[in-house]
């Protein structure tokens, strides 16, 4: 039997077309599966959100918030006279009095210690001391030791 070239070509084309069709079908099925999973996941998330929103509004009931505020906050409900129409109408607290500036000359000549300055006992050196011992040590320091004698 002699097979014609056209027959072979047709069979080859049919095979290729069949394969492509099969591959396309598989791709579509897989895409549909992904879509279905995505939809299901979305629906699940939406259901969770609905539950959370409901819980949020349940926990924020005005009567519950009011009870909790009374129990745990040292605050009262806002009174009408605490409201103002314009925040600029609130009078600012009086400005703080500035501390008297140190004369420049003093700043330029810092005091120089004439004797060795006693240092507080180092915490690291007293790691094993009791807290009371530490306090005693601090109390026995001579506060005037920094001055000239």
């Amino acid at each position: 039997m002699r097979l014609r070239l056209s027959t072979i070509t047709a069979l080859t084309c049919a095979g290729i077309a069949g394969f492509l069709l099969f591959q396309t079908s598989q791709n579509v099925q897989q895409a549909e599966d992904k879509l279905r999973v995505a939809h299901e996941s979305l629906a699940k998330e939406e259901a969770s959100l609905r539950v959370l929103e409901t819980e949020w509004d349940y926990l924020n009931r005005p009567d519950r918030i009011e009870d909790l505020a009374q129990q745990h906050l040292k605050m009262q409900a806002t009174m009408p006279n605490a409201l103002v129409k314009d925040s600029r109408s609130i009078t600012s607290p009086p400005p703080q009095v500035e501390k008297k500036a140190i004369p420049a000359v003093v700043r330029e000549t810092p005091p120089v210690a004439t004797t060795s300055v006693p240092m507080p006992p180092s915490i690291s050196n007293n790691e094993h001391k009791q807290f009371d011992d530490l306090m005693n040590d601090l109390a026995t320091q001579n506060p005037a030791a920094g001055g000239g004698q």
Partner: protein
């Protein structure tokens, strides 16, 4: 073109007709062979597809994925969930959630006693005998428990009983509880609306397309409920109602009827509480009706504020005596009638208005017809029939005619807002609401202004002083009605109310508080009137509303107070002349 060796015929040479026949036969054989081969290839490919590509690969992919359990737990998308109900700010008042319901296929349950005992242990409110009886029936489907909690569902799953199955069902949740129960309503276990907007908008809600937004503000609803309950407790009342309304639009911002109920679990014992005193109950409202009598008088007869009425003695008519709680025993002006709440004075005004005029005015403001509102729990007003002359006199001070409290609040709003008729409405969507869109005027702007002055006078100088809140120009009217039982009025069984409106220079909100059968206390010197019972809660509500709504108080000089122009017409008023001739509207 020469063919490859595979396709060359054998070396044996056959020629002629035999050769031709053999060629045909061979060709057919090859063709059939190719067809079979293609068939087998297709079968192999399909087998591969079903077993590996569609079967094994997705499973392997899911094992590696974090969301692998999704397909098994697919959410049923058969019937849409019932629509949400929210307040005006979007706070949930009702929502349907999917929950699991437990049913049994008893053919798969071999030890019903053991299963029943385990179920009762998980859900102690179930009765062992009931569960056992159900499990001993031979059926493929019988409900054991609807709408399980997730915790119970897991516990039942852990039992590992093949005969216990679950079905997803919608369950209606009311996150705010009883706070707005009469307005929101409730549903049965199958999700059908049985009360409030749940019933009225059942068809709409079942489509689940959009949330139903109510005019209620849950914050104001809470304030109203808190203060109303405080007043009921303080005066040992049997119930009460409260409402806040936008006087310009009719939107109801708060609507409370006590006692109320938890819509989540409505039982037979809740039956009395299902009755809404606010919209179903019809009451003789008492002196708050003098607002309408005075408005009708000013609108129809245009009297001066100095015009006086004879209140020197009770009116006797048809064997019935109309008297005052605190008799003035004098000729008194309209501001005085209003300020001291004189029944005799109101009846004298009604005489001048006439039966036809007063009745028509009541009809115009919607007091003679059932309330038009978006719930079905509405009471029909009790109107005198036939309407005799004495009915006109008693109706002038709120007796002999019974209406719903919310209806009264709507009518007051219509009189106060400049004269435009408003109906109370509960839904924001204008297509769904029964809001009055006619723009009909029930009184003139001048009459409305005069009524604001009179209401303000009641609070500054009259029976409603305890409703005043500095900076808000509260106006209002007290009402104390004796309840009628068996045709007789019982002076110890009262309905005490106060309707407040503010700010009186440009009214925005109307607030109603009414307590059913209050009893006087030591602090109230034994009184249980509207001024003692209703006015203080209204004052507290106005003060509490302001920070919520951001209303800033505004101090107004005495001379600019709405009540000041009326002071010359009252005894001990300031300054000057009294009983002047008619004056224009300030």
């Amino acid at each position: 073109m020469s063919l490859p060796p595979l396709f060359r015929r054998p070396s044996e040479k056959i020629i002629g007709a035999r050769r031709s026949a053999l060629d045909v036969a061979r060709g057919r054989l090859v063709f059939v062979g190719i067809c079979f081969s293609l068939g087998y290839i297709l079968l192999a490919a399909r087998t591969m597809d079903l077993t590996v590509i569609q079967g094994e690969l997705p499973r392997l992919a899911q094992v590696g994925s974090e969301e692998g359990d999704a397909p098994e737990q697919a959410v049923a998308e058969a019937k849409p969930l019932r629509g949400d109900i929210t307040d005006r700010n979007g706070v949930l008042l009702a929502r349907s959630l999917n929950t699991a319901s437990l049913y049994a296929d008893t053919y798969y349950i071999t030890q019903p006693e053991k299963v029943a005992a385990a179920l009762v242990k998980i859900m102690p409110d179930l009765k062992y005998a009931d569960v056992l009886q159900k499990l001993q029936k031979k059926t493929h489907f019988i409900w054991l428990r609807r709408n399980l909690t997730p915790k119970n569902q897991i516990a039942i799953l852990n039992m590992g009983q093949p005969g216990l199955n679950f079905q997803d069902e919608a369950h209606r949740i009311y996150p705010q509880g009883a706070i707005a129960s009469h307005i929101v309503g409730f549903t049965d276990i199958d999700g059908r609306g049985l009360g409030g907007v749940e019933r009225n908008f059942n068809a709409l809600l079942e489509t689940g397309t959009q949330p139903l937004k109510l005019t209620i503000d849950i914050r104001l609803q809470h304030i109203m409920r808190r203060e109303l309950n405080k007043a009921i407790r303080e005066f040992s009342g049997v119930g009460g109602v409260g409402a806040i309304m936008d006087v310009n639009t009719g939107e109801v911002l708060a609507a409370v009827s006590e006692p109320d109920f938890d819509p989540q679990s409505v039982g037979e014992e809740d039956r009395p509480a299902l009755f809404s005193r606010l919209t179903q109950g019809v009451y003789e409202m008492g002196s708050t009706f003098k607002i309408f009598t005075a408005a009708a008088m000013i609108e129809l007869k245009n009297p001066g504020m100095g015009q006086t009425f004879d209140a020197r003695a009770p009116i006797e008519i048809g064997g019935f005596k109309i008297k005052d709680y605190h008799p003035e025993n004098a000729w008194i002006t309209i501001p005085e009638i209003f300020m001291v709440s004189s029944n005799i004075g109101a009846a004298r005004m009604a005489e001048q208005i006439g039966t036809t005029g007063l009745r028509q005015f009541f009809k115009d403001v919607g007091l003679l017809d059932p309330l038009q509102i978006e719930i079905q729990e509405v009471g029909r007003p009790l109107v005198p029939n036939p309407w005799r002359p004495i009915s006109t006199l008693t109706a002038s001070y709120g007796h002999g005619i019974a209406v719903t409290p919310l209806q009264t609040l709507g009518a007051v709003s219509s009189v106060i807002n400049g004269g435009t008729l408003v109906h109370p409405t509960l839904v924001m969507d204008s297509d769904l609401s029964k809001k009055d869109k006619s723009g009909k005027h029930v009184v003139s702007a001048e009459t409305s202004h005069r009524m604001r002055q009179l209401l303000r006078l009641v609070v500054t100088n009259g029976t409603g002083k305890s409703a005043d809140v500095p900076g808000f120009q509260v106006g209002g009217k007290t009402g104390t009605a004796e309840k009628n039982s068996g045709g007789n009025y019982n002076h110890k069984s009262l309905l005490s109310s106060f309707i407040g409106v503010y700010p009186m220079n440009a009214p925005k909100y109307a607030v109603l508080v009414m307590v059913d059968e209050p009893k006087g206390t030591k602090a109230s010197h034994g009184y249980a009137t509207g001024g003692w019972v209703g006015a203080p809660p209204v004052g507290r509500i106005v003060a509490a509303m302001a920070p919520v709504l951001g209303i800033v108080p505004k101090d107004i000089p005495h001379e600019q107070d709405m009540a000041t122009p009326l002071l010359p017409y009252i005894k001990n008023g300031q300054p000057g002349e009294k009983h002047l001739a008619s004056v224009g509207v300030e």
